[in-house]
């Protein structure tokens, strides 16, 4: 048996829909079946940052065995199934972000202007001229990184 997890643009909530509440809460034209999951998608990044963002709904289809497995895992973590799925998605996106090589550079207001004129890079004791030059390159690149946050 394959589960249908419906995309519900009009439905702002998030939840696992059972036979009783599925069709009533879900405005989806597919009409949710008993084992239909409605969940809102999020994009990569930290969870807190996305909490205030507008949300969209996605549809996913799961074999019953996977559905049951997720249900068990959610129960073990004392999470609702939808929250558990959200966690899994967030975790995976975080891994993808980091594995992709993205750098987050925080620059507070009092440092912003300093980036244009950061002063002389301090040498490390005993450092060769070549290594210092390499580090200078890194430093220059770091000063040009877009600001995160």
């Amino acid at each position: 048996m394959v589960l249908r997890i419906a995309a519900v643009p009009a439905f702002r909530g998030i939840g696992v829909m059972g036979p009783a509440d599925g069709m009533a809460a879900c405005a989806n034209i597919h009409r949710c079946r008993p084992s239909c999951l409605c969940l809102q998608n999020t994009t990569g990044g930290t969870k807190l940052r996305h909490m205030s963002e507008p949300r969209r709904t996605v549809t996913i289809h799961l074999p019953v065995s996977r559905y049951r497995r997720l249900e068990r895992a959610a129960r073990a973590e004392r999470r609702s199934l939808d929250r558990h799925l959200e966690d899994l998605i967030e975790r995976e996106l975080a891994v993808q972000d980091e594995a992709g090589g993205a750098i987050r550079m925080f620059v507070p207001p009092d440092a912003e202007s300093l980036r244009d004129n950061p002063g002389e890079l301090l040498p490390t004791p005993g450092e060769s001229v070549e290594r210092y030059a390499e580090r200078q390159q890194i430093f220059t690149t770091l000063m040009k990184l877009p600001i995160a946050g």
Partner: protein, 134 residues
């Protein structure tokens, strides 16, 4: 001892939630420092639990961390902050006990620099730009 490359320093590293304000005090790794500012990398004592170790994330176990006068920690070279050299960001700056907790060995500094170069190469278009103007 001055804040310079390889130093582990008490830092009020900003958080994702308040990126423009000093966060809680952390020991952070100095990637580079100039006469006016320092580029610091975030560390956390939360153990790394994921199966994948992304580029830029380095786990320091008990032995290695002990050599740096610290408990086991995770260093995130992909999470940086450019901070002015002031007590607002470096709370122990100018205090008698000094701001530097430990200094990385030459080998570790070389390793970290190579990772940083790789990260910057990979980074390019992947930067998450959520700057103040965004």
């Amino acid at each position: 001892m001055a804040i310079s490359e390889g130093a582990f320093v008490w830092t009020c590293f900003p958080t994702s939630e308040a990126p423009r304000e000093p966060g809680l005090r952390h020991v952070c790794y100095c990637v580079a420092a100039s006469t006016r500012l320092a580029v610091m990398a975030y560390t956390s004592s939360q153990p790394w639990t994921l199966s994948v170790l992304p580029m830029g994330v380095r786990v320091f176990g008990t032995r290695e961390a002990g050599q740096l006068n610290q408990r086991p920690f995770v260093l995130y070279l992909n999470r940086l902050a450019t901070l002015p050299l002031s007590p607002r960001w470096f709370p122990t700056l100018g205090r008698p006990q000094g701001e530097v907790v430990a200094v990385a060995s030459a080998n570790l500094r070389i390793e970290m620099m190579a990772v940083m170069q790789d990260l910057l190469r990979r980074h390019r278009d992947l930067v998450e730009n959520l700057g103040p103007g965004a």
